[in-house]
Amino acid sequence: MWDSLSKGKRLDGRNLDDLRPMEIEMGLIKKANGSARVRLGNSEVVAGVKVETGEPFEGLENKGALILSAEVLPTASPHIEPGPPDEETVELARVVDRGIRESEMLDLNKLVLVTGEIVYVIFVDCSVINADGNLFDATSYAAVASLVNSKLPVFEIRDGKVVDTGEKQNSPITTLPVSITAVRIGDSILLDPTAEEEACMDARITITTNSDNNFAAVQKGSTGTFTLEQLKQIAASAKTKGEEVRNKIKELMKSGQ
């Protein structure tokens, strides 16, 4: 790998800043309020949106509740044991959640039924089916696409009780957050790493931008370091490459998925 990288090429033939081929399928889970399956190279994630009502979070009385979970299914790799999420999966869920939450992708102010008492609760559950590196981006794209695909039930309060009117509404989407993950191996910065590349990485970073192409969330990971110059360079790539991915999602939206 090192030989290859020193020539600016990766084992799978990509340039250092190439993303792998991506496929997005929306709406595959009819029982969910929204769903998407994303393939990023051989990494594959299914995300589903389910909508309920409940109490708002403390301190966020005038906002709907967004709850994102992620699990890496034991189908995904020989190294996954079934069980409660480990440290890495908790980080995965929280980083994907952070991108959506900090970009304010969903206008949660529009998801309140009775301030401080009853709000829409939006569950976004992400299941990694096959793991071949960069689960952060694959999961993030699946979560974002499932929300893009979602229609929310119209709930109403009648006689003090929540009633599902049977009607549907578009989800209040304001922006499309897109994360780009890079790893450093020696002096090379590689985007969208495979599992093989992650096994050799020194450090990892995930940068999320919104539709205005501003930064919304960052997470550095792994036990290596970055210089300030490297960080700024990756930030610039995250904008360019993020826009590419965002345009792909926008096309899917237009095509009516």
Binding site: I29, K31, T75
Partner: protein, 246 residues
Amino acid sequence: MTQTKSLIDENGKRTDGRTETELREIKINVGVIKNADGSAFIEFGMNKILAAVYGPREVHPKHMAQPDRCVLRCRYHMTPFSTDTRKNPAPSRREVEISKVMREALEPALMLQDYPRAAIDVYVEVLQADGGSRCAGITAASVALADAGINMRDIVAACAAGKINGKIVTDINDTEDKEGEADMPVAYMPHLDQVTLLQLDGILDDKQFSECLDEAVRGCKVVYEIQRKALMQKYFGEETEMKEEQ
């Protein structure tokens, strides 16, 4: 299963348009999960279920290893978005039970003594659940085990029969499961003519019991043909299937 709505119309059609003996549409794709040693994706009506097999491989923890045979482990698991109401991610008692009966339904078909001290893990992931998800899961898992190249005596095919509006029907769907009178999931090895799973929820008299059991087994044979074609298509390509159908 108390109040029975009309689940069969005047033309003898069921709520989803099927006749009494008709199975839902079934599609099986083999080898869909890159990292797994064997895998299958089944669409069985609205069920969408993945099965992945890892093994034979080393057992962890080691004290679980058996000196004379392979350990088979099996997990049936529903994703939170697979059900009408969001499913809590913690494993339910229902999932624990189905994992157990699924393992017991699959094991008779496997030559486990061929892999002493090893383990085979079968992971069944329900992406969308409809009635009959355990049968669909067993069906997919058996195909995934074959795809993994595990030595097998037979394929296990599974299908339910049941009773709605007093009549025995094949392959109970979600509505029929909830509002019908009985549901009998069966798993069966067609070549060995042996039943590996049998459950019943609901009331049947003597005659209905026999009829239901026979009908479920007939359904299993239909399912088996689809399993066989899916495996042939994977290993011998589209053409083979063409020949089969001639």
